[in-house]
Amino acid sequence: MSESFWLNASIFAPLVGAVLIGFLPDGRVRLLRGAALAVTLATFALSIGVLASFDPGVAGFQQVTRAEWVPEWGIAYITGVDGVSLWMIMLTTFIMPLSVLASWSVERRAKAYFIFLLALETGMLGVFAALDLFLFYLFWEASLVPMYFVIGMWGYGRRIYAAMKFFLFTLAGSLLMLVAILFVYFNSGQGTFDYQTLLGAPFALGTQRLLFLAFFASFAVKVPLVPLHTWLPDAHTEAPTAGSVVLAALLLKLGAYGLIRFAIPLFPDAARELVPLIMTLAMIGIVYGAMVAIVQRDLKRLVAYSSVAHLGFVVLGVFVGTIQGMSGGILQMVNHGLSTGALFMLVGALYERRHTRLIADFGGLARSVPVMAGVFLFVALSSLGLPGLNGFVGEFLVLLGTFLGYRWWVVPAAFGIVLAAIYLLWAYQRVFHGEPSEANRGLVDLRAREVAMLAPLLALIAFIGVYPEPFLDRIEPSARRVVAQLRESSALPGGEGAPGGSATGDGAGGQGP
């Protein structure tokens, strides 16, 4: 069994499972659920193999598979992991069984539902593992379609509008990326889509800028960065619970991952030049997302906007050009996946009980469902970055990295932690505090299944908060590599580059003088 077995098996296990589920009878919902759960759990088990055989000391890619696919075009099936993708893959395989658990209330057309969900998992895992630009794009788009159906077919209220918006937004961005990928292919002179080969391809700064922006358009939509974010609240709000969980916990990571994996390493000079712009956007996202979240009336929408703010931290960390920022940003991707995923599960659980998401309809739930209240608070605290829980580690590193790189630029971003406390605690107060109204009395507290789907998340939230080392250890070598790409000028013939000298000067190596 070769070293790369686990990775490839993890990628395709859900797809195989989806095909097999296709042969099950449509009406047997329990059977279908069980099968989907089994497939996702098996995938998780396989991905444990990836984690186990991962060598933390290696900065480059490991467990690499390379198989020719369309040799005429230099397209190959290349997959591999590094410290960045490892955790994204683990997060995906970890979240998926939980989102299957969160889909227990899906009774209608369950077969199609689980098939889409599993196809989606393969798509996302493929994105995280692909080391060939073509393959990457393939998986990237392939992850779009199942989600479209999940939102559109099993969503609420304005699901069709939301699904359309989601699809078109993402597609518009990714098509620009496609053009850029093709441009790279044709103009690199390498005749290949192989990511690692293309890394060194020298492009003039002006060209790089356009290419970077094309990639960036695609990723920024997915992240999402303000002002390209408006698909997100709609999609999150209207999607079924598991859809929101997957969207928030995993799909948004595709964008940030793309920035780290592709946008920066392929076009480092352009990335360096555009750092101020992107940082500004990220900061706007942090503050703006939080402010908009404060006044939301719909609980799910509130959580959705909190994602905008959180992902702002991620992007900020990625682009500040310090190892702390990068590591923190990557860790924050995992953190956000855990805490926001859990929040969406809780909101979904609330919806199942009360059939409303309006904050004003709730109140006093801490009395009627104390365990859920406690869990919600715990997750909210993680989300608002309480030290000792996971969110803090990521946010702190991001902010520290920002400070080391850019000093007082950090202030608006850091103020985001105050705003996060405002919207989360205010929402918590309105939902859980106070005297419960008649409708809010006598609700059922968390069921065993719900505990089973939340407990792993809570455990991990606490674990990362207390002991993030296993994560950071594996992230750091890869993060260091990307930071180096962002900071150093590549060997440009014209000697362009290194424009960000003053900006990145005093954070060298993460420490001041």
Partner: protein, 644 residues
Amino acid sequence: MTLSADAGAHATLAPYIVALPLAGAVVLLFFGKRIGRAAGVVASGAIAGSFALGVASYLGLLAAGEEEREASVRVFDWIQAGDFRVAADLLVDQLSIVMVLVVTGVGTLIHVYSIGYMAGDPRYPRFFAYLNLFAAAMLLLVLADNVLLLYVGWEGVGLCSYLLIGFWFERRAAANAAKKAFLVNRIGDFAFMLGIFVLVSEAGTLVVGDVNRAAADFDPGIATIGALLLFAGATGKSAQIPLYVWLPDAMEGPTPVSALIHAATMVTAGVYMVVRMGPVFEASGGAALEVVAWIGALTALWAALMACFEYDIKRVLAYSTISQLGYMFLAAGVRAYSASMFHLVTHAFFKALMFLGAGAVMHALAGQVDMRKMGGLRKVMPITGVTFMLGWLAISGIVPFSGFFSKDAILASAWQEGRYALWALGVGTALLTAFYMSRLYLRVFEGPVVVPGHAREHGGVHVHDAPPTMAAALVPLALLSVVGGVLNLPGALTLEHFLEPVVGHSEVPGGLTPWLLAGAALLVAAAGIALAAALYLAPAGEARRARIHGRARVPIDAARNKFFVDAIYGRAFVLPGKALSSFAANTVDARLIDGIVNGTGRLVAGASEGLRRWQTGYVRSYGATFLLGVVVIFSILFVRGVVM
């Protein structure tokens, strides 16, 4: 758990000091329902165990040589990213052990008190879980060897404060107060975090000792910014101007919480932190300390003014706490760190005592807090009355109670440093302190017996003294309030001498001056008590009060309305913030950005609708379009190919 080889033996216990209450909290959170009534005992046992371990550590520390008293223990590596490394290290030295003893000691008493006080509450186990969690966080805060770990404890206690203020979350006021406390603290923490960044970038480390050693080389400007940011954090946690507003509201929490968190321990975290990071503050070349001292002095006076006109006994105590914390900052600001710590300790004793006494009164009067509806209670609840009286005398600064010594130390230090203005502010505050505390004490416990109507009806005869568990907490605290002063009596065992290795030496006045200063303080205290007696105890007090009120209606009303600070904050920050958020959500997001998005869609659809009219259905107009295309193409090529 690995212990570093060079750790002093006495530090080995430190992790367990934190872990014990933490374990108690976890056990109670998960199994609270099953444990039921025994929760109070479990929790008290956990914190008492911590206290015992603290004492053991203290003894171990005393046994160690002068040079080896500072010891740290590594629990595990926490965060590493690049050169930035933070470990979960705990530091045991003279300063932290003092705090440990105060926290666990007072904490244990309050736990015990709560067993009686909270009896009958449906969420009884949860209360103790939170209380234990708080103790753990607070101990982590004081024992942290690096600033980030301190920050963990710092926010941890904030969280517990939130949970406990909002313990009776069904009450809107409690829920609001909890949220307010957390948010105001978050603002402080935001500054604190920025301060941490400054420390990391300047010192390259967050280990307290290393930072303090490196501080000497800091650029004064940077050091000032860093120190002020840290201090901004402290103003949040320790309720100083401008972030004190949450503390009076925090009285919505159960009274033991007010005693433990909002009087004795948590709110002093800011003082502790300033003392801890003293060298950083000093590195700014005086500017930062100047700010600390002035903020402290002004807060002391400001809060005391408000305390003078408040009728809610818990709120009076809350303002008093703010005021006393101001004293501590005043001391720290003049580098009298040990005086600051000294006052911190004595204040913990007498303020906790008074809160618990107030709690006993409320307990007896079915939750009544308005002092106008009380009177002469010493006669019906003698233990509470007497112990409260001791606390009153202590805070008022009457010889030989503990407050006299600690307050005097602060004032003397200010004088010694030549900061006469600060000294004057301190003395003025002392007058007010004596006055409002006497007002409180005299109204509630002296004079004719007054019991609020509903308390009489509900339990008329049941206006009783505190139950034994509550009394068990009151009496030791009362004793400590009385004798706490000995801690700093001149001699080898003084607190000042003990702390000197950590906080450095501070000059005390010599010769006749200290006696004169002490006399002045005593005189002022007596004046305050006399004034209160004249207004509240004397038969003519009622008339005098009316006269004064008539003459100074405006300032008094202002003071009763907390000088409108809450309202001003509301107008200046909360409302505009909400408006801005609404603007962002409803206008920018929904109209502008989504408007552009949907507008693009509409534009395409509109273009589609418009363009389809072009497809008229008349074949001749199709032909016209065709011909148009031909002519355009022909003309272009004609110009390109033929003419040119």
